[in-house]
């Protein structure tokens, strides 16, 4: 059992949870994630470790409500317990001083991007961060990102915060302006697909952190597999980061929608039920 120490909403659908998990706090590195199961009937869902405090023995998770499990998680409160949390999973980000690093995050991808921005900065890089969302209410971690970035560019679809436009526009502006040695992109698969095409145009080595569907997270099931350079890779053990220019994003998009029908049926049922409970 893993105790929730604090919980707060960063935006309407995104919550930050600080959870007691001393072993994980100690061994995690930037780029690692955990898998959790809320209760006996729950699924195992992967979430990036956004931050950790070794002294307090806690890890920070940032979760966006997209379906049943993430909804249940966001509804939990400080003092409650999560049944299972396992990690740290995945290979850590390879952090070194390469010069200028362009970090781009879309939507809730900004959460997993944060520890990488932080590590890249601490390794002595010049870090330029682009974060994007539909509108100003959905922008998260603005202050923390600013603290660890040499420059922070905010992009919104409606221009309600920062510049109006897509993440790729913000990235391209930077690339045209100065030499970028490496790029890291995290966000919805569709965003990563176009962000990867953008950096490919300028031949910038790029890593994408993939958020495929997972079950065990230990290499046992293959649910998380994607094609990278024509080879099947398991994201949970060989990733989550891969050469973005080699990832087959179309295949990944398909696989992410694999359970869409079942999941969304389950979700509307769940929402109906929880509404019924609230209206009682």
């Amino acid at each position: 059992m893993f105790k929730i120490i604090t919980k707060e909403f960063l935006s309407e659908n995104v919550a930050r949870l600080v959870i007691e998990a001393p072993y994980i706090a100690k061994s995690r590195k930037a780029g690692n994630f955990i898998i959790l199961r809320i209760d006996e009937n729950g699924e195992r869902i992967p979430l990036t470790i956004s931050d950790a405090d070794i002294e307090k023995g806690t890890i920070t998770l940032i979760a966006q409500r997209v379906g049943v499990s993430s909804h249940k998680l966001c509804a939990m409160n400080a003092g409650e317990f999560i049944l299972d949390v396992v990690g740290p999973l995945g290979e850590a980000t390879h952090v070194s001083n390469v010069g200028t690093v362009l970090c781009a995050g879309g939507g809730v991808g900004v959460a997993p991007l944060f520890p990488i921005v932080q590590a890249m900065k601490l390794a002595g890089n010049r870090v330029i961060t682009v974060i994007a969302a539909r509108n100003k209410d959905l922008i998260i971690l603005e202050d923390k990102m600013r603290e660890y970035s040499d420059e922070l560019i905010i992009m919104t679809d409606d221009g309600s915060n920062g510049i109006k436009g897509l993440v790729t526009q913000g990235m391209e502006e930077v690339i045209l302006r100065e030499k970028v040695n490496e790029a890291i992109i995290i966000g919805p698969a569709i965003m990563m697909k176009y962000a990867a095409l953008t950096t490919k145009k300028y031949d910038i080595p790029t890593l994408a952190s993939l958020n495929t569907i997972m079950v065990d997270g230990t290499g046992m099931c293959g649910a998380c597999r994607v094609s990278v350079g024509g080879k099947t890779e398991f994201v949970c053990v060989n990733g989550p980061e891969f050469d973005a220019h080699k990832v087959d994003f179309d295949e990944m998009l398909n696989r992410l929608n694999s359970y869409k029908k079942k999941e969304s049926e389950g979700y509307s049922e769940y929402l109906k039920e929880s509404e019924a409970v609230l209206n009682q």
Binding site: S27, E43, V85, V215
Partner: protein, 497 residues
């Protein structure tokens, strides 16, 4: 087979008065005339819609009658066929006497999980294959597996399962990585010697393949839990959600005072065939399919985890995993649950009993056939597979005739989902976290005759050493490693004192 028969020992035991008397009660000729017991089985057309256990278990009368078939041979060759050297005639003769608890006790001398082995051991190629009935009399072997299961179930159901006597606690900490049959066996062995034993398990539930792989209708989860509880009663501690090599390394655990380690992380990595379309949605490994159903409750709406099935489900492969998957798909409502296998039924590595049960349950077999490509609808969901026919050619290294493609024999099968069950490779997590650990070219861990790896104090066994093998071989490794670890730690303690 590993166990050499210690003839003198068995001869001496056989001379015990009670065994002498039993042998004289019925003439050998009359014993051999008894027909082998038939296991009561659930109706195929009902069981293929539910999770009830297929084999119902023998009654006491059936068990006693079957045990009287056993000739209590001077040279009990059956024992050679058992990887842990179970004293088969002794336990069977206790059964004939009606002393079921006595029989169970004999079983537990060599095997801490007889209720499980009695159900899942491939007896027809192990103990029963070496029985005199098969070797000399051309009859069906003594039903050793059924009897083993009976004795263990009886002991459990009558609340008589006892825990072995334990040595005084010695306070020495031992760590076991993985809670499958290999890990559980070592845990039991070390607890008997008085060690302070902790089992670390990556998943949220204990039992390894016994839980996430082998389905309820073949091995009820309650039986696995019962055995795990007994090991808990022996003082063994279990830590779930703990991946050694990730959550903490072996070196971290050494710093916490663990003196010796046993790696039993299994062969969990599923193989794929690397053919076009294999990554479409709805194509999944058997591990994924079985885990979603067995560990995550995917077939039950109460649970949040979804799983792909459908009307037409094809399983690729011919081993136990393939049979378990296809029979699970049938139970989840598939109209056509089909095995596609590249050799013939005779070459299937699955247990004979599983193949028989699958046929009874209406599973279709498309043999001498292999997939070459998958196709999908506009959403990337698999809807068709292309297969080609094979014929058997010259025997390969394994002695089995090699399947050869028949050119121009391709055709398509409509599918709603596909399960790939073409073997597994060793789980790589530990090896990766310890580059100095010696492994084979298949990435299995190298061990010496005491199951010690290239690193002193670090032992390994089960599927991580053998590749995909069997429950009983994993347990055999566990027993050997338990002895090895005990000897290692004792000599270290002596050296230090």
């Amino acid at each position: 087979m590993e166990s050499e028969l210690d003839k003198e020992y068995y001869k001496k035991e056989r001379k015990a008065d009670w065994r002498d008397k039993l042998r004289k009660d019925i003439k050998s000729k009359d014993r051999t005339d008894i027909v082998r017991v038939h296991m009561p089985e659930a109706d195929p057309n009902e069981r293929n819609k539910s999770n009830i256990e297929v084999n119902g278990g023998l009654t006491l009368e059936m068990a006693i009658k079957e045990s009287s078939r056993c000739l209590d041979c001077v040279s009990p060759t059956c024992i050679i066929g058992c990887p842990v050297g179970t004293n088969i005639p002794k336990f069977v003769k206790y059964l004939e006497l009606g002393d079921v608890l006595g029989a169970a006790k004999v079983l537990k001398e060599n095997n801490s999980l007889p209720a499980i082995c009695g159900r899942v051991c491939p007896q027809e190629i192990q103990c029963e294959a070496q029985c005199i009935y098969v070797k000399k009399l051309s009859k069906e072997g003594s039903a050793i597996g059924y009897l083993e299961r009976f004795a263990a179930d009886y002991e459990r159901e009558h609340g008589e399962a006892s825990i072995p006597t334990l040595a005084e606690p010695n306070g020495i900490k031992m760590a076991i990585i993985g809670s499958g049959p290999a890990g559980l066996t070592v845990a039991g062995e070390l607890a008997k010697f008085g060690y302070d034993v902790t089992v670390f398990e990556a998943l949220h539930d204990l039992g390894g393949v016994l839980k996430y792989g082998i389905p309820e209708f073949r091995l009820p989860k309650a039986i696995v839990d019962f055995e795990i509880n007994n090991i808990k009663k022996m003082g063994v501690k279990f830590v779930t959600n703990f991946i050694v090599g990730k959550t903490a390394t072996i070196d971290d655990l050494k710093n916490e005072g663990y003196e010796a380690f046993f790696i039993a992380s299994g062969a969990g990595l599923p193989n794929f065939m690397n053919i076009p379309g294999e990554n479409f949605s709805g194509v999944q490994s058997a591990n994924e399919f079985l885990t979603r159903v067995n560990l995550m409750g995917g077939a039950d709406n109460k649970f949040d985890t979804p799983v792909h099935t459908g009307k037409n489900v094809v399983i690729v492969g011919g081993g136990n995993t393939a049979m378990d998957s296809v029979r699970t798909a049938k139970r989840m409502g598939a109209e056509r649950a089909i095995i596609v296998y590249r050799r013939s039924v005779e070459e299937m590595p699955a247990r004979a009993e599983e193949i028989k049960h699958a046929i009874e349950e209406g599973i279709e077999f498309i043999n001498l056939t292999s997939p070459i490509e998958y196709f999908a609808d506009e959403n990337g969901m698999v809807n068709k597979m292309r297969v080609q026919k094979m014929e058997l050619g010259e025997p390969d290294a394994s002695g089995r005739r090699r399947p050869v493609v028949i050119e121009g024999s391709e055709y398509d099968i409509d599918v709603d989902s596909v399960v790939i069950a073409v073997g597994v490779s060793p789980n790589p997590i530990i090896q990766r976290s310890m580059p100095e650990l010696e492994v084979t070219k298949w990435n299995t861990i190298k061990v010496d005759e005491n199951m010690m790896t290239s690193i002193s104090g670090l032992f390994a066994g089960g599927d991580i050493v053998r590749g995909g093998a069997t429950v009983i071989l994993a347990m055999g490794d566990g027993r050997k490693a338990g002895q090895g670890m005990h000897a290692y730690v004792q000599s270290k303690v002596l050296a230090e004192s």
